[in-house]
Amino acid sequence: MAFLEIKGLKKQFGNTKVLHGIDFSMEKGEVVAVIGSSGGGKTTFLRCLNFLEMANEGTISIEDGFYFDAGKVYSPAEIRDMRLKLGMVFQSFNLFPQYNALENVYIPLQLRSKEKIKASIPFGKARREAINAAQIENKAKAMDLLVDVGLSDKAENYPCQLSGGQQQRVAIARALAQEPSILCFDEPTSALDPELTGEVLRVIKELKDKGRTMLVVTHEMEFARNVADRVIFFADGVIEEQGTPEEVFGNPKSPKTAAFVK
Amino acid sequence: MKRILSMALSVVMVLSMLIAFSACGSDSDWAKIEKDGYFTCGITVYAPMNYFDDDGNLVGFDTEFAKAVAKELGVEAKFQVIEWPNKYLELESGAIDLIWNGFTYGLESDGVSRTEYVDFTRSYLENKQCLVTKADKVDELNDIEKLKGLKAVVEGGSSGQGVANELTGSEDNVTTFASQAAALMELMAGNADFAVIDYQMANAMVGQGDYADLAINSAYEPESEVYAIGCRKGSDLTEKVNEAIDKLYANGTLEEIAAKYNLTGSLIPADENK
């Protein structure tokens, strides 16, 4: 079985079918670029993986993680656990404006830690101490991640004081903090000025070098060509074509793909 | 400060009250007053009926009268300053038990008898409506014909309102206020040509102190009217108060109070009140 395995994933909004049964798999450490014109279903595909949309049919499984079957009913807590296996970086960063860079990264972590501590330690001083210890630990972890994305000097800055590229790098650090099995990107550079896309793509490339498994929806053909191990082309709710960058860009089999990559 | 504190505390009370809001039986008025130990008189503030002396104590003929009646009945009298136009609402909702404030036995300004709204007790004091103008206008406005078309101010829902409607020739010329005092204020400020208020009030307040610029204008010669106390329709309190009034006449208390406020001449003799 592959690291991530998706079978027959279908999604429709009202009467509009957006995904017509997607079969897809990827291996650990693989970087897959998802390309295709707007409305092709690639963003919906990504959102279904993160359970921001619930698929109508199909299964999703991660080797070391979970098995999701759209036919079953899951509790919000179960959905939440599954979600954490898949990190998500948004097109518009979605940093929390009232928190500085460091807080953006560690507060979600701290909330998880608190939840666990509260479940195991009932009351009193021991609980408070455990929470404090977790806070120190989470802050340190967050700081390390900011160092990784090259923003150690911006830890105290608020999102409104950061450039778009810097904000997106904080968002990447924030997603990494959850230690997801797979990191998803939804057009991570589309909201950026051209001169700022480079720094974000560089970070993604560095993550690849460290062996991260990543699924990147992108319009950056250069990036897809140079960084991705595999490219999949979405059109009209199906995977029209997939293969290595050389195959998809150099020798597309489908006329739709050919028209798109030209 | 004490008042504020007690208000804060009673917030807690109302919450519990809202919860415990049970159908608290329909006791008769008297039964409830006996249980609570007090009745509440709705008043407005003016001399000589109910007003504050220089030390801030509520005094006046009606104030002492009500206290004397309460004493006869073995309960306490409380006084609540109300907006006069709301008097029937206050009475009907039970917020007050009696309208006791130089309340004229007679008609509302729309010609409806006040007996439609309240049960009157025995009457106790003579009154008439009284024309008040600026002191320097008394000579000029010496005929009621000259009042036609002028601007008048009165207390809303008072006996004077009907008189003012007649004198000015149209209710459009009459502006109403929440109390007689407020109406006099308007007159002082020059926003109107005359006011129609109770003679008893005018006699006690006009031409002196803060109202020195005003004067009673005798161009208007009113019919005499009487004061009585207004009770809720069908209330058993009416009878109780009447009994007490009889006793206060008999033992001379009422005469004493009247003398104290220079109202001896207006007090209706015991055998003439109805």
């Binding site: 993160n50 359970f51 921001l52 919000p76 939440r80 656990d81 979600r83 998500m88 948004f90 518009s92 979605n94 940093l95 929390f96 404006p97 009232q98 928190y99 979600p108 909330l111 998880r112 999102p159 409104c160 968002a171 997603a175 959850q178 | 008042r3 504020i4 208000m7 804060a8 009673s10 917030v11 009370m13 109302v14 009250m17 809202l18 809001f21 159908a23 608290c24 329909s26 407005t44 503030v45 007003y51 504050f52 801030g56 300053v81 907006e83 709301n86 609402l89 206050e90 009907e92 909702s93 039970g94 917020a95 109390s179 005092a181 407020a182 006099l184 204020m185 400020a189 102190g209 803060d210």
Partner: protein, 219 residues
């Protein structure tokens, strides 16, 4: 009557005004938040009921609501809901709290609905529960967005308290009419204006300070 006596009397009335203001604020803000959740509920019957209620309260004069709260229970049901010395104050408080909670609820609703979806989604993918999302992510952004309209309402409330006089609550204007205006003293009215100016001035400074405190981030 000397200035001291008048000041003391007016302060007494202003105490009632301030208490009515403070209690209304303290009770109507959380109630308003609850009502806003009701009006945003996905359960149609609830949101429809709540919205109708808000429409009625916002659509009728506060003065009428004061009358209804204080007089109607006694007139129709023979129930004295607000008896006792502080009954009038409590009735006014109930009317004010309900009225202001409805206004606040609409401000909250606007504020909450103006927060971009992305904020909720980001919180979701980071594993926050909806409660955590609201209190850790959304609330502070809402607060910043609604600070200006809320401060407007709050300042209006200071002055609206004087409406309580229609059911004879002994707030500052009622005291003034009872004790001074009835004797022909007009100038205390202007003196009262000073009380209000100082109070509203203090509130303005407070909200300015809040705004400054929250200026470190943009939403």
């Amino acid at each position: 009557m000397d200035l001291g006596t008048i000041t003391l009397k007016l302060l007494d009335g202003f105490g009632v005004t301030c208490l009515l203001f403070l209690l209304t604020l303290v009770l109507s803000l959380p109630l308003g938040l609850i009502i806003s959740f009701g009006s945003m509920s996905k359960f149609k019957p609830l949101s429809l009921t709540v919205r109708t209620f808000v429409w009625i309260i916002r659509g009728t004069p506060l003065m009428l609501q004061l009358f209804v709260v204080f007089y109607v229970p006694g007139m129709l049901f023979d129930v004295r809901l607000f008896s006792g010395d502080n009954g009038r104050f409590l009735a006014a408080l109930v009317a004010f709290v309900i009225n202001y909670a409805c206004y606040f609820s609409e401000i909250f609703r606007g504020g909450i609905q103006s927060i971009p979806r992305g904020q909720y989604e980001a919180a979701q993918v980071l594993g926050m529960t909806s409660k955590e999302t609201f209190f850790n992510v959304i609330l502070m952004q809402v607060v910043k967005r609604i600070l200006a309209p809320i401060s407007n309402e709050v300042i209006t409330l200071v002055k609206d308290t004087s409406l309580a006089r229609v059911i004879a609550v002994a707030e500052i204007f009622f005291i003034n009419e009872m004790d001074f205006l009835s004797r022909g003293l007009v100038w205390p009215l202007f003196y009262i204006a000073v009380f209000f100016l100082i109070f509203v001035g203090a509130l303005t400074l407070f909200f300015g300070w809040c705004e400054k405190k929250l200026s470190y981030y943009k939403v």
